[in-house]
Symmetry: C2
Subunit: 347 residues, 2 copies
């Protein structure tokens, strides 16, 4: 091991990790690119995807990992355990994989209530059953009081990818339309409202849901799907920017097609947040050739988690690597990659 | 989800998670059995193994996960990054699998030095290269200062198991001999000495090492291996107790065959610790039919990580679920499962 290899992020820039390094925006990307990808690079590393893919004896698999550090751990519409299962199920699903097996690694702070642990575990079990996956291996570590925060959960997952499915961020092509399965920003605002004690006429609840069933119903209809992505940390803005950059295409979205609840709009105004950048946990962006979009939309709208599906945009050859939004008033604005940290510890 | 399902650990017993619940002993087992296994139970769950096994289209795989919370993160002989890779490589290897792919999930405390992160990542890369595995997917979360402890790393891993290999804790049979590949307790004492500022004439360094090469050389010689286990948290005493309980056999070990360095013996005396219960990160217990043991020992002793391999004990039909040690003075003593927490955050 050569410790003389010098760190690629110069001290003059950042010498300590900031919350924004975990926010899913520009600083996260810098950390990934310069520290992790530069070292771990190999032919299978999932540089621009939600999971890695590999093949063994002609069988194609997806493999993904996520750690969950959401606070509070219980929030309207879910808790950290359910989120940890759904998040990993969804990361596999958007690779075009059928999720099969999940691991669960717990880092528990000394003093955490056993009753709360029990409720987290119950809801993981329920989420796994709902998604049709098995939790087959696990690990528990306990850290001293003050060295953790109640509970962190890592879930990793393995899924199988049927032959003929080829989904990757750089697969999208000019002319593709972009489908979205419903209202955005509910998860992030549910977390924020729990943290800040905000109250709405109608409670905003997390959209946390397993999306593998929805994906399966689409892929059983057609394998002609180019990209899928669940817009979690950093919201749909960050996901679309990543895809535009990765495929070197332009993306145009239509503000009037992007559904946001009145409560979420109100909360975003109060908190000074842009819903395009807010995390979702039950949403999926799907890039398909225009010719396939009608039948896919139809199937999506008949699914429990796709009733409000819409075409929200399209891929263009103009403005490569740029996401533009046609606003309600008819102008266009650039939707940048987020730079800082809107909402720490949202998932 | 039914939140009325009542928690199986009554409040009168423990209402909060203790450090000992993560120590690999009796309390850890209670937490696993009553909380995790009771809910997650399925046909593939690795209740008594270091990883789970599953089969897809005739291909057999192992899947494992571990979170690393060791403190200090840099210690004599290694750091948390190298440990995270070796630990998961070893968990796969002791399932009889060839480790292929690793995921890396980082939970970083705000304010952690980027330079330290860089060094951790460099050593993960070096460890992965040495073990011949690829890190193919990852995740980074940042938690606020005071809500974590520098860095926690989860690694999950996937390996393939060759046909004809069938290794599981309940496979051992009376008459099997137990092989161990060298000195015990170095890892735990290296960590403790770094924490407590102990100094020895010769520095005690962690034995952290990838064991997949050693395992591969054994399994290419014979597939007639019954059990393998890396005795990490809880040491060889806990590993042997788990195996004895799982296979409903007795285990007898010989004190004069268990190698411990003078420095480690001294440190254990000062700290009031029993080396049988101290974590190792480069050791493996192997249960094989006596008829196979000579040739396996020979192969082990020619390997970089097996030079000091010994037969340290045998499996008996007497005293099921009990581990007995023949001491240096000729008496026998019961080597119990550890109840509390000898060394928190050792891995």
């Amino acid at each position: 091991m050569d410790f003389n290899l010098s760190c690629p992020i110069p001290k003059s820039e950042y010498d300590k990790v900031l919350l924004a390094h975990g926010g899913g925006g520009t600083l996260s990307h810098q950390l990934l690119q310069k520290i992790f990808f530069s070292q771990f690079k190999n032919d299978l590393l999932d540089v621009h995807h939600d999971g890695a893919m590999f093949e063994i004896n002609g069988n194609k698999f997806a493999f993904t990992t996520d750690s969950y550090v959401v606070t509070p751990i219980f929030f309207p519409g879910g808790n950290i355990g359910e989120l940890a299962v759904n998040g990993t199920v969804n990361d596999l699903a958007v690779c075009g994989a059928k999720p099969l097996f999940i691991s669960a690694g717990f880092i528990i702070e000394e003093g955490f209530e056993i009753e709360e642990l029990w409720q987290v575990v119950l809801s993981m079990k329920a989420a796994a059953d709902k998604a049709g996956v098995k939790i087959i291996t696990g690990d528990t570590k306990v850290v001293d009081k003050g060295k953790g925060d109640k509970i962190f959960i890592n879930t990793s997952g393995i899924g199988v990818i049927e032959k003929g499915i080829n989904i990757a961020p750089n697969n999208c092509k000019p002319g593709d339309v972009i489908l979205l399965n419903g209202r955005i920003a509910d998860h992030g605002i549910a977390i924020m409202s729990a943290r800040e004690g905000l109250e709405f006429e109608t409670e905003v609840v997390s959209d946390s849901a397993p999306l593998n069933g929805l994906v399966e119903s689409i892929l059983s209809l057609t394998k002609n799907v180019h990209v899928m992505r669940d817009p979690t940390r950093g919201g749909i803005a960050s996901a679309l920017n990543e895809i535009a950059a990765s495929a070197n295409v332009g993306i145009e979205i239509y503000e009037d097609k992007i559904s946001i609840s009145e409560e979420v709009k109100g909360a975003c105004e109060i908190l000074g947040l842009d819903p395009l950048y807010i995390a979702n946990e039950g949403k999926i962006l799907i890039f398909v050739p225009e010719s396939e979009s009608d039948k896919i939309l139809h199937v999506m709208r008949t699914h429990e988690y796709g009733k409000e599906s819409q075409i929200i945009g399209r891929v263009t050859s103009e403005n490569p690597k740029i996401v533009l939004m046609k606003t309600l008033i008819g102008s266009k604005r650039v939707v940048d990659m987020i730079t800082g940290e809107q909402l720490p510890r949202i998932c």
